[in-house]
Amino acid sequence: MTRRGRRLLAGLSVGLALLAAGSLLWGRYPAPPGLTPWALWRDPLAWQLVWKLRLPRLLAALTTGGVLAVAGLTMQMVFRNPLVEPGFLGVSPGAAFGAALGILYLGASPWAVQLSATVFAFVGLGLTYGLARRLRYGGWILRMVLAGLAVSALLSAGLGLLKYLADPLTQLPEIVFWLLGGLWGTRWSNLLPVLLLSLPALALLWALRWRLNLLTLSENAAFALGAAPARERAGVLALAVVATAAVVSLAGMIGWVGLMVPHLARRLVGADARAALPTALVLGSGFTLLCDDLARGLVGGEIPLGILTSLLGAAAFLLLLSSAPKT
């Protein structure tokens, strides 16, 4: 990593730590803009609020953003395509279908919805993989992309059907709200399984960051350099998908983080994943936490997080693409 990259990453990390500390205090209790640090000592209710609601939600936002950004970067590199995002390969449509199914037929308890979303995220991926193996057209990457498109369309149709069947007064709004994405339901109890799945995957991807560079080469070049490209790509992909499925099951559809943040990270520190991956991790966590702070504190009600990440993410993406890159 260049010295400039290291300095930038250190600066971003300090910024993230400050943002996280501020986020614990920021909110609508006791009145906007939130608590003072010493209120935590004096006010037991404030302490309860921070420990039981704000801290798990903060960790959920950091994990969600970090996972989506790192998984996005990983998938873009493995597929050698900068337009891929982590919900790709049927993962997000699978989770959405699973969540809707949970809301309709499993009593709509948060646990059931989360479990059903996780299971169907993997079902989506499994269908994509199985279909890609059977396709008789194009190379491995093209087959996975085509299979992903087909499976996504299939699951979206299934989701449409579930929406059509849902009770328009009780179940439909719940499905719609879940699809818009948000972290308002986060407690320690539903956060811990997500952390257990996503943090080890994230740590492994971080350890593999230099290897990711190698996997962006053509099949025969990577092979000549001692890699087993197909096997290594599949392994890295599995890590990214496991982590993504876990956070999507909790947060719902959080758009644009996985697409925009890797681009921003590469623009800031270059394509080398040794620098780009940690930068994407910090930026993705920070961006999502900032959006979640706005989601819960800007107005009296809750703004769905997915709306804010899409709005700000797409705006940032357009800014990024319309400004000239440094060469």
């Binding site: 593999l208 080469l217 053509s218 070049a221 092979f223 394509a271 060469t327």
Partner: protein, 255 residues
């Protein structure tokens, strides 16, 4: 001749069943010499190179690398012995030249390892040796054809492998860059390298090759030194047009 770098016997291979691309090839490739695999387009030259790399396994026949069956090497051991310079490769991300060339150190680094200062120093050394140190901070996608080819050769040299396979290294280059690459190849055996490159240009082969394999329609037309290979009769058969050969100032000229 010493132990050949490659010993190939009865090699037959194809991508689809019952459609063989290479048919019953038999040849030895000399070590520490430059071999040109010569032939018209779409005649199996790149396929042969990929077989020598170990990317595919043969339908029939055997390939020995430095006296041992190619399939008996582990992936890691093989990648320390054989390096590939692919045809100009699409790089979808804005890697800088020194990051891209550093990938040549992969055979020496474990799955979870990170390259060290020493690996980076080897990269800088090779870039200087090839006279392209000034490109180190450029983005690979912004390089010209000749520069990109030099960078690909640099990545293969950083791999420190005695055998270098190059796929059409001069195909899209102008005359100056073509000469630069060919002279570089010619000088590599003195540094201990065995060089095998494919080309459809007999002039390039005439310029640097110590040994020539002539491939036509997936079969070996001839294997031997340039003086015996580059004759009007053989070249005319190879390319299916009448060709002449003459000598001018010590060089073979084909027209």
């Amino acid at each position: 001749m010493n132990t050949p770098a490659y010993r190939v016997r009865g090699l037959t291979f194809g991508y689809r069943p019952s459609r063989a691309v290479l048919k019953d090839l038999n040849f030895d490739l000399p070590a520490q010499a430059v071999t040109a695999v010569l032939g018209p387009n779409a005649t199996g030259k790149s396929t042969l190179l990929h077989l020598l790399l170990g990317l595919w396994s043969a339908w029939e026949g055997s390939i020995h690398l430095l006296g041992k069956p190619l399939s008996a090497y582990t992936q890691a051991a093989r990648s320390r012995l054989v390096a590939l310079v692919p045809q100009r490769e699409h790089v979808p991300f804005a890697f800088r030249v020194r990051e891209y060339v550093l990938l040549g150190r992969s055979p020496y680094l474990g799955l979870l390892a990170q390259p060290t200062e020493d690996d980076q120093a080897q990269v800088e050394g090779v870039l200087r040796r090839l006279g392209i140190a000034s490109l180190a901070d450029r983005q690979v996608a912004s390089l010209s054809g000749g520069e990109h080819q030099m960078v690909l050769v640099a990545r293969a040299l950083v791999q420190n492998a005695p055998v270098l396979l190059l796929d059409e290294p001069t195909a899209h280059l102008d005359l100056g860059n073509k000469r630069r690459i060919l002279h570089l190849l010619r000088d590599l055996p003195a540094a201990g390298h065995t060089v095998v490159f494919t080309t459809h240009d007999p002039q390039a082969a005439a310029h640097v090759a110590d040994y020539i394999l002539m491939l036509r329609g997936g079969r070996l037309l001839f294997a031997g030194p340039p003086a015996e290979a580059l004759t009007p009769a053989r070249l005319s058969t190879l390319y299916d047009v009448p060709l002449q050969v003459t000598r001018f100032q010590g060089q073979t000229v084909i027209f």
